[in-house]
C-alpha cells in the first residue's frame, strides 16, 4: 500500500518535473528534450582531469565523456577493446598498440596515437600534480618524469613512442602481462589538443570522445551532459542526456527521488535501507562492487610482529561474526568476505570464494583458543582506529568490537578508536603512527586480482600502510605479472593470496555492494563493477 501511494505521488510530481525540464532545458542540441534523465552527484574533489580523478564522482563523468583503448564490460568486468585495434607483445614488456580508425573527439579532432602519448606523458609528469600519476609507473622512463625525490629530469617518458598516426609503442620497465587489461582505467584515456592549448577552458567544459558531451557545467551544482550524435562507438547513449545534480546529502537525493524531482540515485542512504523495498519495489538494485573492507595491522609495530601474532590475528578474524553484522548493520548491502579480492572479478578473473577458509568463519571457542595460544592480545586490548566524519564507520566498528568481546568473554578486549577527520586518519595510518588494527577500504582501479594484492601487500607498495612484507608473496606477484598465460597468472596470484591468508596480513571483512534506486520513467538500469550506473544503457520513458 505504501509503495502504491508513493508511486502515485511520484507520477504526479513527475508530470510537474517534466514540465519544468521542458521549460528550463533550453539549448538541447539533440532536440528530443524529454528523454533526459537526472541523477544524483557529489562535487568532484579534484579538477576533472583523467589522470587526476581518483574518486567515483569524477570518474563517473570521465566514463561518460571518454572512451579509452579498452573498457570493462559492465556485467563481466572483462576488459574489451574499444579504441584499440590491436595490442601486440612478444615478451610482456614491449607493446605495440594500434588505434582504430574513424574515431574523433566531439570537437572534430581525430583521435590518434599522439592523443594517447601526450595524455599519458601529461599524466605522469610531476609538475602537473596528477594524483593518478603512479598508473604510468610501469612505463620505462617514469622515474625520470616523476622521480621520488628532487626535480623532474625529463619532459616525456622514454618508453612511449609514436610510430605513425595510428600506432605507438610502449616499453615497460618490468614484465607485466596484464598491462593491456589495465588500459580500461580512466587515467589512460586520450586527450584532445584543446586540453593542452587552453587548459582552463577545457576544465570548465571538458571535451572528450565518449557517448556524451558536456553541455554546461556549473561547478558545485550541476553538469548537463547531452548525447553526442557523432559518437562512432557501438555503445552510443540510449537516452538523450543526463543531468548530474550535486546533492550535499544523499538523504535529500533520496527524498527528491520519492517526490519525483530526480530519476536516479546511485547511493541509497543507510537510513532508508529499511524502506527502500517498499518505496521502490523492483526499481532498486544492490549488487557487489569491486570494493573490499578489511582490518589492517601495524606490521611495523613489534607487538604485531612477534611470534604468535599470526595466531592472534587469525583469532580476531574468527571472533568476528560477519554474517550477523552485514545483516543487521548493513541490511544486506555488504557480503561477508571469504577472500581478499572481490566477486566482481568472477571465478575466471581471479575471485576464489572460500579462499580464506575457516579463518573467516565465526567460531568463538576457536577464536579464544587461538588468541590464547598466540600469547593474548597485545597490551590486553585492541583498539580499532577509524575516521568518524564520514561513512558511518562507528556503527560497524562497534559491532565488530562487540562480536570480539562476546567471543572472548571480555568486555574490554576491543574498543573503537575514532579519529575526527578522514585526512587526519589517513595521515596517521600512512605515516605509521597507529598501534592497533585500523579500518582499510580498497576500491579497485581495474578488475584484476593484481590490483587487489600488489598495491596493498607488496613490500613498500603505495597503499601498504601496515608495511607488511613477505618475500614469498613478492616473488609470487612478480612471477604472476610476468606470466603470459592468463589462467596461470590468475593461479599464481591466488597462490600469493594464500600467503596473505597464512600470515593473516589483514582481516577481510566484507565486500561492499553498489546500490541504486530509480523512478518509473527509467528502465535498463545497471551498475558496473565500479558501482557506477551504466548511463548510456539507461532508457527513458
Amino acid at each position: 500500500m505504501r509503495g502504491a501511494t508513493h508511486a502515485r505521488w511520484a507520477a504526479c510530481a513527475m508530470a510537474v518535473a517534466l514540465a519544468t525540464t521542458a521549460c528550463g532545458g533550453g539549448g538541447d542540441t539533440t532536440g528530443a528534450g524529454g528523454a533526459v534523465l537526472s541523477s544524483s552527484w557529489t562535487d568532484p574533489q579534484n579538477p576533472l582531469e583523467p589522470a587526476n580523478t581518483n574518486e567515483v564522482q569524477g570518474g563517473k563523468v570521465l566514463n561518460m565523456i571518454f572512451r579509452g583503448l579498452k573498457q570493462y564490460d559492465p556485467r563481466t568486468g572483462e576488459a574489451e577493446d574499444v579504441l584499440a585495434e590491436r595490442i601486440e607483445t612478444t615478451n610482456s614488456r614491449n607493446y605495440t598498440i594500434t588505434v582504430k580508425d574513424g574515431w574523433t573527439f566531439s570537437n572534430g579532432e581525430k583521435v590518434t596515437a599522439r592523443s594517447f602519448v601526450d595524455a599519458w606523458n601529461y599524466g605522469a609528469s610531476l609538475k602537473n600534480n596528477q594524483k593518478n600519476a603512479y598508473f604510468f609507473g610501469y612505463i620505462a622512463g617514469y622515474d625520470q618524469v616523476h622521480p621520488e625525490q628532487g626535480e623532474q629530469r625529463a619532459a616525456t617518458m622514454s618508453g612511449l613512442k609514436v610510430v605513425d598516426e595510428r600506432t605507438f609503442t610502449v616499453a615497460l620497465s618490468q614484465k607485466f602481462s596484464s598491462f593491456p587489461d589495465t588500459l580500461g582505467y580512466n587515467a589512460f584515456v586520450p586527450l584532445p589538443r584543446a586540453f593542452f592549448d587552453d587548459h582552463a577552458a577545457w576544465l570548465s567544459k571538458p571535451v572528450g570522445n565518449g557517448p556524451y558531451t558536456v553541455q554546461s557545467y556549473t561547478k558545485g551544482s550541476e553538469m548537463q551532459l547531452a548525447r553526442w550524435g557523432g559518437y562512432p562507438g557501438e555503445d552510443a547513449a540510449r537516452n538523450d542526456g543526463v543531468t548530474l545534480k550535486v546533492y550535499t546529502d544523499n538523504n535529500t537525493a533520496y527524498t527528491d527521488l520519492m517526490a519525483g524531482n530526480l530519476d536516479l540515485v546511485d547511493d541509497v542512504p543507510a537510513q532508508q535501507l529499511k524502506n527502500v523495498r517498499g518505496d521502490l519495489g523492483d526499481r532498486y538494485l544492490n549488487t557487489p562492487a569491486g570494493i573490499i573492507q578489511t582490518l589492517s595491522f601495524p606490521h611495523y609495530d613489534k607487538e604485531w610482529t612477534k611470534a604468535g601474532s599470526v595466531k592472534v590475528r587469525q583469532g580476531l578474524s574468527r571472533a568476528i561474526d560477519r554474517d550477523q553484522i552485514t545483516r543487521t548493520i548493513f541490511q544486506g548491502t555488504r557480503t561477508p568476505a571469504t577472500d581478499w579480492t572481490s566477486p566482481v572479478l568472477g571465478a575466471e578473473g581471479g575471485y576464489k570464494a572460500g579462499l580464506c577458509g575457516q579463518w573467516c568463519e565465526y567460531d568463538a571457542a576457536a577464536a579464544k583458543k587461538l588468541i590464547a595460544e598466540g600469547g593474548g592480545l597485545p597490551g590486553g586490548q585492541v583498539k580499532i582506529t577509524y575516521n568518524a566524519d564520514t561513512g558511518s564507520h562507528k556503527l560497524w566498528v562497534d559491532a565488530v568490537c562487540n562480536s570480539i568481546n562476546n567471543a572472548l568473554d571480555n568486555d574490554r578486549a576491543c574498543v573503537g578508536n575514532p579519529i575526527g577527520t578522514f585526512a587526519d586518519f589517513r595521515s596517521k595510518s600512512t605515516t605509521q603512527k597507529l598501534s592497533g588494527p585500523f579500518r582499510a577500504g580498497w576500491q579497485m582501479d581495474y578488475p584484476l586480482p593484481q590490483n587487489f594484492l600488489q598495491p596493498l601487500y607488496y613490500t613498500n607498495a603505495s597503499s601498504n600502510d601496515g608495511k607488511w612484507s613477505n618475500e614469498e608473496f613478492d616473488k609470487l606477484i612478480d612471477r604472476a605479472n610476468a606470466e603470459t598465460d592468463v589462467a596461470k597468472a590468475v593461479q599464481t596470484f591466488q597462490q600469493a593470496e594464500e600467503v596473505v591468508r597464512d600470515n593473516m596480513a589483514s582481516i577481510p571483512l566484507w565486500y561492499q555492494n553498489g546500490s541504486a534506486g530509480w523512478s518509473d520513467r527509467l528502465s535498463n538500469v545497471a551498475l558496473n563493477p565500479f558501482s557506477v550506473p551504466v548511463y548510456n544503457e539507461i532508457k527513458v520513458g
Binding site: Q149, G220, A253, T255, D424
Partner: protein, 307 residues
C-alpha cells in the same frame, strides 16, 4: 557620531586578526590535508610534496598565516583543492545564503514582532498562552527535525514544494527553508517583544501619550513599539551573523549550495583555504552587524545618541 563609528571600526582590527588566526590554527591542528586528498590510498610522496608546495603547506604555520593575510589584502583568498578560486566559491555561495538569511529575517521581523505585540498587549489571555506554548515547542524541537518533517510532509507527501532547492535558489524556493532556519530565533523574537511590550505598557511615557489623547495605533507604533524594540534589534542584529554561519543544517537538508554547504564540504575535505576564507568573511559580517546594531540604538533611542 562619526568619531564613534571610526573608533568602533578600529576596534574591529584586533578582533579580526585574532579570529582568523584562531581558525587558521584550528584547521592546521586537524592534520595534514594532503593525506586525505588521495582517497583510501597514499598519495605518492613526490606528488604530495609538490601539492604541499603549491598550497604553501610546507612552510611553518606562522609563515602560512602571514602570507595568507598579505594575500587577503589584495583580494586573494587562495585556491580550493578542486582548483577553484575561493573567491569564485564565495561569489556563488554568499548570494544564496544572503537570500536565505533575508527570508529568515523577514519571517522573524514580520511574524515574530507581530506575534510579540499581539501577545504583549493581551498578556494572560488565551492568545498569549497559546503563542507562548507554541514558541516553547518550536524552541525545544531541534531544527533538523522541523526541517526534515516539513520536507517530508510538504515535499513528498503533499507535493506542495520541491524537497530540494535548485542551484539558482530563487526566493520562492527559499520560503520553507527560510522559515525552518528562522524558527527558533522567531520564537525568541516573539518572546522578547512580548516581554518588552508588556513592561513598557505601564511606563510613564505611554501613559502620557494615552492621556494626550493620541490614537491607540499611534501610541503603540510610535511610542510603545519604538522603545520596546531595542532588545529585539540587538537580538536580530546578532542573529544575522549567526544565521549565515549556522545555516549548515538547513542548507544540508534542503540541498542549498550556500555558505553552510561550502563550509561543511571544506571541513570534511580539510580544505584550509575554503574554511579560513569563509570564516574570515563571516567574522566580518558578525562585526559589521554588531556595529549596525549599535548605531541603530542611537536611532531608536535619542538618549543614547546624546550620551
Amino acid at each position: 557620531m562619526g568619531g564613534y563609528v571610526v573608533r568602533r571600526l578600529v576596534q574591529m582590527v584586533p578582533v579580526f586578526i585574532g579570529a582568523t588566526l584562531l581558525i587558521f590554527l584550528m584547521v592546521n591542528v586537524m592534520g595534514d590535508p594532503v593525506a586525505g586528498l588521495c582517497g583510501d590510498r597514499q598519495c605518492d610522496p613526490a606528488t604530495a610534496a609538490q601539492l604541499r608546495k603549491e598550497f604553501g603547506l610546507d612552510k611553518p604555520v606562522w609563515q602560512q598565516y602571514l602570507t595568507y593575510m598579505a594575500n587577503l589584502f589584495t583580494g586573494d583568498f587562495g585556491t580550493a583543492f578542486n582548483g577553484q578560486e575561493v573567491t569564485e566559491l564565495m561569489s556563488t555561495a554568499f548570494p544564496v545564503t544572503i537570500r536565505l538569511t533575508v527570508v529568515a529575517i523577514v519571517f522573524q521581523v514580520v511574524i515574530g514582532i507581530s506575534l510579540g505585540v499581539v501577545t504583549g498587549l493581551r498578556r494572560g489571555r488565551p492568545v498569549d498562552t497559546g503563542v507562548l506554548l507554541l514558541t516553547l515547542v518550536v524552541i525545544s524541537v531541534p531544527t533538523f527535525v522541523t526541517g526534515l518533517l516539513l520536507q517530508l510532509l510538504l515535499g513528498v507527501e503533499w507535493g506542495w514544494i520541491r524537497p530540494s532547492v535548485s542551484p539558482d535558489a530563487p526566493f520562492g524556493e527559499l520560503i520553507v527553508p527560510g522559515l525552518v532556519l528562522a524558527s527558533v530565533s522567531l520564537a525568541y523574537v516573539t518572546r522578547l517583544t512580548r516581554t518588552s511590550i508588556a513592561e513598557n505598557r505601564t511606563s510613564d511615557y505611554v501613559r502620557t501619550a494615552v492621556a494626550k489623547g493620541l490614537p491607540r495605533r499611534r501610541v503603540v507604533t510610535r511610542h510603545l513599539l519604538r522603545n520596546s524594540l531595542i532588545p529585539v534589534v540587538t537580538f536580530i542584529g546578532a542573529d544575522i551573523g549567526f544565521l549565515m554561519g549556522g545555516a549548515i543544517v538547513t542548507e544540508r537538508i534542503f540541498n542549498i549550495h550556500g555558505v553552510g554547504y561550502q563550509l561543511y564540504q571544506g571541513i570534511l575535505r580539510q580544505n584550509t583555504q575554503t574554511v579560513v576564507g569563509f570564516v574570515t568573511v563571516l567574522v566580518l559580517v558578525f562585526l559589521l552587524c554588531n556595529l549596525v546594531v549599535d548605531l541603530l540604538y542611537a536611532v531608536l533611542d535619542p538618549r543614547i545618541r546624546y550620551a
